[in-house]
């Protein structure tokens, strides 16, 4: 009896501080946010705001800019998931193979992830607007080397490119850990049975590193949806508002259009969508995991 009380106390000592912070900075603001989204709150004092029911939510679906940004964010998320994971996994395969410079390569590929998204955006902005134009002038080839941020399609791919460059190294680390966890015996057995390189990857390696997929897919998915810093520093929504992702749209609704309750309603919808998408993804990929 006494022992269990002591154990509980110790457990509480670990849980309570972080739970305290979590409740104060996540749960309480979240609940307040839900309340705000049903009122006509103007961003100042809450007292005096009226309850307006679902009016804000109705307005969200009439806002064509928001729907466009949502579509764009979906497109961005799909591109990011595919590119980040394909490149991340390839890099992981490369640096777990027997090439000589593998330790150096690991750090190099991981490095972009250590730079903050905001700074990364500013660096690449310089590359796309200045360096590309210069190279284009020197080579006389302006079909690839032009100012990418001047064109809506190219700006979108610039966002994807920079995002991938930043995230790929991170998921690479996760894949490396998973690949190294696959026991040599299983792989050797596959070799003995005459499985080729592709067969070995597809039938043995792939199912065994499935847990890593669950994590990496989840990370890239939620990061891509919530992308804000690179968006603001690289394109700032431009040219003419064509690369405005959802997070930026919500921020602008609140702070430049001064429609706080509408922005809050947008944020709640955004939350629900991310929740559904990520939970579906986790459930599906969990099912495909196998025990080694």
């Amino acid at each position: 009896m006494k022992k269990s009380v002591k154990r509980n106390l110790i457990a509480a000592a670990f849980i309570v501080p972080s739970l305290f912070i979590f409740i104060n900075v996540v749960i309480i603001p979240f609940v307040m946010g839900i309340v705000y989204s049903f009122t006509d709150w103007d961003g100042f004092q809450f007292a005096g705001s009226k309850f307006v029911g679902f009016q804000n939510y109705v307005q969200v679906f009439q806002d064509s800019d928001f729907l466009t940004s949502f579509g764009l964010t979906f497109k961005y998320a799909v591109c990011m998931i595919i590119l980040v994971n394909v490149i991340g996994l390839s890099l992981a395969m490369l640096v777990t193979s027997k090439i000589k410079s593998r330790n150096l390569l690991r750090s190099i590929y991981f490095l972009p992830n250590l730079i903050g998204g905001l700074i990364l955006g500013f660096i690449w902005k310089f590359v796309f607007t200045k360096f590309f134009v210069q190279v284009g002038e020197v080579l006389g080839n302006s079909s690839i080397f032009f100012n990418w941020l001047d064109d809506p399609t190219a700006s979108f791919w610039a966002l994807v490119f920079v995002g991938t460059w930043q995230m790929a190294g991170y998921v690479m680390i996760i894949y490396i850990a998973a690949i190294q966890g696959v026991s040599d015996e299983v792989l050797e057995a596959a070799d003995m049975d005459g499985a080729g390189g592709w067969m070995r990857f597809r039938k043995i390696m792939f199912p065994l590193i499935m847990p890593a997929f669950t994590i990496s897919l989840f990370l890239t998915l939620s990061n891509a949806f919530k992308q804000y810093d690179t968006n603001i520093s690289l394109t700032n929504g431009g040219p003419y508002g064509t690369t405005e992702l959802v997070a930026m749209n919500i921020f602008k609704t609140a702070f430049s259009m001064n429609q706080y309750s509408l922005a809050q309603a947008k944020a709640i919808i955004f939350f629900l969508v991310i929740l559904v998408v990520t939970v579906t993804q986790v459930v599906i990929s969990k099912k495909r995991e196998v025990e080694q």
Binding site: D150, Y240, K252
Partner: protein
């Protein structure tokens, strides 16, 4: 297990309310305390905080505050970091959480921003500086006859031109009387070696849309009436003759401009390097021009829309005092602003360090920088155009600028641009 989690959540929730209560009561005690000591005239000084959006004067403002703090011992003025374009966001969060802790002195523009923060502004009629405001420059800060702001500075914008380059190209600036003259001059200027384009606009929303579109709106007969009609949905932008003409003029000059692709920095740098003969800018560019150590002479040229011969002069930025600050703080804020705007020691900072054109009588204006002197010259000759862009719908500047960007990129015709602007205008008004 579930029980345990429940208990933990409960205890944390209780803890957080406890802390919240604690913070509140603590606060009250503190306030009583400070009020006590200041009334006795001993101990703590009243702290006056200032927040403003002009990054370029931040250093000088800190020096001014230091000097003011030395002259008296009742107040302690502390400039907070310059907020730049984020000022509205910062003010919003500060005032919505605790107005009494928000900055004592802050700046906002006139028009919609004034209306938004009016509940937080103290009237300033009893101030010494209030009586010295130049005639007519305080109307935008009045509400119900009371004065709620002190204008920060007079500013002017138009085309800043490179006088030496004009000479080299054989263009006489005084001869540019119509828009066609401007186009002809641009063609000549582009013959000069090193010149990429005759005119450059910057890409920030104010420089891309708000300032350039001030011309047609300010030069029409009844600006406020027209804008009221647009807001009411009775008039469309594409039906206003001045706007049609302005867009037709833009079509003519478009090929001679940089298509507003440069940032503010790049635009001024390009001007300093002789790549552009003219930039559409205001006297605030002086600081940057000084940084680039410009060797040639430069001055202001009117945008000759409908034969206009004036530059746009106005002030849209005002010092405000926070109504919810303690009485000591408010008195201190007024004392500091009076010192800055009426005492020679403070005035020195305004003209020489901030490079402001004062909006108050009693300033020594003989040592002002070149662009400020130009603005002063136009103002004294009465060749001015009003600032009306603060009457455009609030918060839509970026959306407007996006449409102009589309126009420059060739995705919209002149007419299409007006239609697109009309749409943005109406959505912004409806919200």
């Amino acid at each position: 297990m579930k029980k345990k989690v429940g208990a933990a959540v409960l205890s944390v929730a209780m803890l957080s309310t406890l802390v919240a209560c604690g913070a509140k009561s603590d606060d009250g005690a503190n306030k009583a305390n400070s009020a006590d000591t200041t009334s006795k005239g001993t101990g703590k000084k009243a702290v006056i905080t200032i927040i403003q959006n002009k990054v370029e004067i931040q250093g000088a403002l800190e020096d001014a505050a230091k000097e003011f703090n030395k002259t008296q011992d009742k107040y302690e003025v502390q400039p907070l970091g310059a907020a730049g374009d984020n000022l509205m966001t910062v003010l919003q969060t500060q005032f919505s959480s605790a107005p009494e802790k928000a900055p004592t002195i802050f700046t906002t523009a006139s028009g919609s921003e004034f209306q938004k923060y009016l509940p937080y502004m103290a009237p300033l009629d009893d101030m010494k500086a209030a009586s010295k405001i130049v005639e007519g420059q305080d109307t935008a800060a009045r509400s119900d006859g009371k004065l709620y702001g002190l204008p920060v500075a007079l500013e002017g914008f138009g085309l800043i031109y490179n006088k030496d380059m004009f000479k080299e190209a054989g263009v006489n600036a005084d001869d540019i009387k119509t828009w066609d003259d401007l186009v002809a001059a641009s063609t000549k200027l582009e013959q000069v070696k090193g010149v990429k384009k005759a005119i450059a606009y910057a890409q920030e929303s104010y420089f891309r849309f708000m300032h350039p579109f001030n011309w047609p709106f300010a030069l029409m007969k009844d600006t406020s009436g027209t804008i009221a009609k647009i807001n009411a949905g009775e008039l469309k932008l594409q039906d206003i003759p001045e706007l049609k003409e302005y867009v037709a003029d833009l079509d003519k000059i478009k090929d001679h401009t940089n298509l507003s692709k440069d940032t503010y920095d790049e635009q001024v740098a390009g001007f300093a390097a002789g790549q552009y003969a003219m930039i559409h800018q205001g006297n605030w560019a002086q600081g940057l021009l000084n940084d680039y150590d410009v060797k040639f002479e430069y001055g202001f040229l009117p945008v000759p829309f409908e034969g206009n011969q004036g530059i746009a002069v106005g002030n849209s930025n005002f010092f405000r005092v926070n109504k919810h600050a303690s009485e000591d703080q408010q008195a201190g804020a007024k004392a500091f602003l009076d010192w800055l705007l009426t005492d020679p020691a403070g005035q020195h900072y305004v003209t020489d360090e901030f490079n402001f054109i004062p909006v108050y009588s009693g300033f020594d204006t003989s040592k002002m920088d070149p662009l400020s002197q130009e603005v002063n010259r136009y103002a004294s000759e009465g060749k001015t155009v009003k600032w009306v862009f603060d009457q455009f719908p609030a918060g839509a500047d970026q959306e407007f600028a996006n449409q102009v960007e589309k126009y420059y990129a060739g995705k919209l015709t002149g007419e299409g641009l007006l239609e697109a602007l009309q749409n943005v205008w109406m959505t912004a008004v409806k919200k």
